[in-house]
């Protein structure tokens, strides 16, 4: 195999005819739209998954472990039985797992951006955010995979959503929208922190309070007042309430609106900061 490669290399001699032919100046195609460029970068993310499928481990194994662990850990104590607890807990653990997985967007960007290929991307005359938007599009697939995995595990364990199939899909869709917006926090960290490890560290610092200090695991009613105040403004709380209501078949429009507003604010603030850093890098 390696001798084959060596022979191919030595056999190559640049020919002015064939090379000259590819260098002939043709009309340049029209620059792609922002959407088309983002989708093309999304295709790149899918190709990377295709070449390294092991990277899907963290969006399948991790959510399964989270779901099993907390269901059996808290189920009996908090709700009398794991089956009871699951009705309350499953939408929450789905949010927790997927929101935690969003941090890999930052870790991935941090290692990816150091590679020479980003120099090429940034010298292309395309819509600037496309490379990052496309990257998150690829991650959205991972979020969908993780959410689906948890839902399947939940259904096996006995989760019975009143909202039926549509409720489940609707809830997952809202989660994906929020996670797309939330990812921009990590693209920002991925660009300004120097190493993969510091991105991980920073994201844990944000993710643990945001997911645990919410209504995911228990009813906030027993918490001290100051903590309830935080839980109330925590966007994860609103997201979990919204998804619970959708999956239960009685969508709470106020909570859903809150989630959309939070998503818009996240993109506006962190998307802008990310693009600033990206242009300066």
């Amino acid at each position: 195999m390696s001798t084959d490669t060596a022979e191919t290399v030595s056999a190559y001699a640049p020919s002015s005819e064939t090379l000259g032919a590819v260098l002939a100046r043709a009309d340049r195609p029209k620059r792609p739209s922002a959407w088309a460029a983002s989708l093309t970068f999304g295709w790149r993310a899918i190709l990377k998954i295709k070449h390294v499928p092991e990277q899907l481990f963290d969006v399948t194994a991790f959510p399964i472990i989270m779901t099993l662990m907390f269901t059996y850990l808290f189920g009996g104590a908090l709700a009398g039985s794991t089956g009871e607890y699951l009705q309350f807990f499953l939408p929450g653990i789905m949010v927790t797992s997927v929101v935690m997985i969003t941090m890999y967007t930052g870790v991935g960007l941090n290692t990816d951006i150091e590679k020479g290929v980003f120099d090429r991307f940034r010298t292309l005359p395309v819509w600037r955010p496309a490379a990052l938007v496309g990257m998150i599009f690829g991650d959205v697939l991972r979020y969908i995979l993780a959410a689906t995995t948890i839902m399947v595990v939940g259904l096996i364990l006995g989760f019975r959503p009143e909202g039926g199939f549509l409720g489940v899909v609707g809830g997952m869709a809202l989660l994906v929208v929020f996670s797309f917006a939330f990812s921009w926090i990590w693209t920002m960290f991925g660009l300004f922190l120097r190493s993969e490890k510091s991105v991980m560290g920073a994201s844990m610092l944000v993710l643990f309070p945001l997911t645990f200090l919410s209504n995911v695991f228990v009813d906030p009613g027993t918490m001290p007042g100051w903590l309830q105040a935080f839980v109330k403004i925590n966007p994860v709380t609103h997201l979990v309430s919204a998804i619970r209501s959708i999956m239960a078949g009685s969508p709470d429009m106020a909570e859903i609106m809150w989630t959309f507003v939070a998503s818009a604010v996240l993109i506006a603030v962190f998307g802008t900061l990310t693009m600033r850093l990206y242009n300066r890098k």
């Binding site: 295709w43 190709l47 390294v52 020479g116």
Partner: protein, 322 residues
């Protein structure tokens, strides 16, 4: 009159306290290979990154085909391509996937992108490796896929940042041939290199850069004659004969002779500039005199000035070895 491919005036870039580029003026005529020659850390790559719109200058101006690299960055981007020091392709993807990805980003339709990728892979002798991930390519193949990616749309200006660093001689020659063909097709090339030899082979004009400044500029011939035509390296059979060999050489060449750390080695510049005689003639005289003096010479060569010697001559201090 057409605008120069590149024109910079007083270009400056600072990284914290370090001034990487300290006022560079360049004018590169279209349709030529222009060499930026200098040691590691001289500021060559920083100049290229500013011209390729990857870095914002802290001072001065830079224009590519008359367009400002900061204010009209998108117009510049549509006419240039960059082949960086490290492969500017995605190493996780295959050769074909890389080229299709970039062709799509340049606006080609799916079938067009596929055709263009196949055509380029064939022209660069990579058809067999098309389905393999780029990280499994050899150094030479990587360079070729990188250059192929740069000419998906034939650029008007191609930046080649140290295109042959780390390549074996055969792959280096392939890259040189490719560069010649690219220029013949009408693309201007800005080449950075640490090797005088490479700049000499390819570039019509060269700017020598050190500490972020251009310290010399001209055709390769002008640069070389300004620092002497070459260097004579002598190895003697007997270390004991070195003092007398040194006297003979000094008399013939009229320059100081350096004794190497090797006890049988001597090195001297062949200063042809001051006299009518060429460096080769000087060298043959030196060899004859050594023989007359009964000094046994095992090895005798006349080499081009190395980058180190260019630096010694231009700055009175040795260049940083690569």
């Amino acid at each position: 009159m057409t605008a120069p491919a590149i024109e910079t005036a007083g270009l400056i870039k600072r990284f914290g306290d370090n001034t990487a580029v300290a006022g560079v003026d360049l004018t590169v005529p279209p349709g030529t290979v222009y060499g930026l020659l200098g040691p590691n850390g001289a500021g060559k790559t920083t100049v290229v990154r500013m011209l390729a719109t990857l870095l914002r200058p802290d001072g001065g101006t830079a224009q590519v085909f008359g367009r400002d690299v900061v204010r009209e960055a998108d117009a510049v981007r549509s006419r240039v391509s960059l082949t960086g020091q490290y492969a500017s392709v995605d190493e996780d993807l295959t050769g074909t996937e890389n080229l299709i990805l970039l062709a799509r980003l340049l606006g080609h339709s799916k079938p067009q992108a596929r055709d263009r990728a196949a055509q380029l892979l064939a022209a660069f002798g990579l058809t067999e490796a098309a389905g393999r991930q780029v990280k499994k390519y050899s150094g030479g193949m990587r360079r070729r896929i990188d250059i192929a990616a740069s000419i998906l749309n034939t650029p008007d200006l191609l930046f080649l940042d140290e295109p042959t660093t780390g390549l074996d001689p055969r792959s280096r020659n392939q890259v040189w041939d490719i560069v010649r063909i690219v220029v013949a097709a009408g693309t201007t090339v800005l080449l950075t290199t640490q090797y005088l030899d490479e700049a000499d082979q390819l570039a019509g004009r060269i700017a020598v850069i050190d500490h972020g400044k251009v310290i010399a500029e001209g055709t390769p011939g002008e640069l070389k004659s300004s620092i002497g035509a070459g260097t004579i390296h002598v190895r003697l059979r007997e270390a004991a004969q070195r003092p007398s060999a040194e006297r003979v050489l000094a008399a013939v060449l009229g320059t100081t002779v350096q004794q190497g750390s090797d006890p049988v080695a001597l090195t001297a510049r062949a200063e042809a500039g001051g006299s009518e005689r060429g460096a080769a003639e000087l060298a043959s005289q030196a060899l004859a005199r050594l023989a007359e003096a009964g000094i046994v010479v095992d090895d005798f060569s006349l080499g081009q000035p190395s980058l180190d010697e260019v630096f010694l001559a231009l700055t009175d201090r040795p260049g940083v070895p690569a």
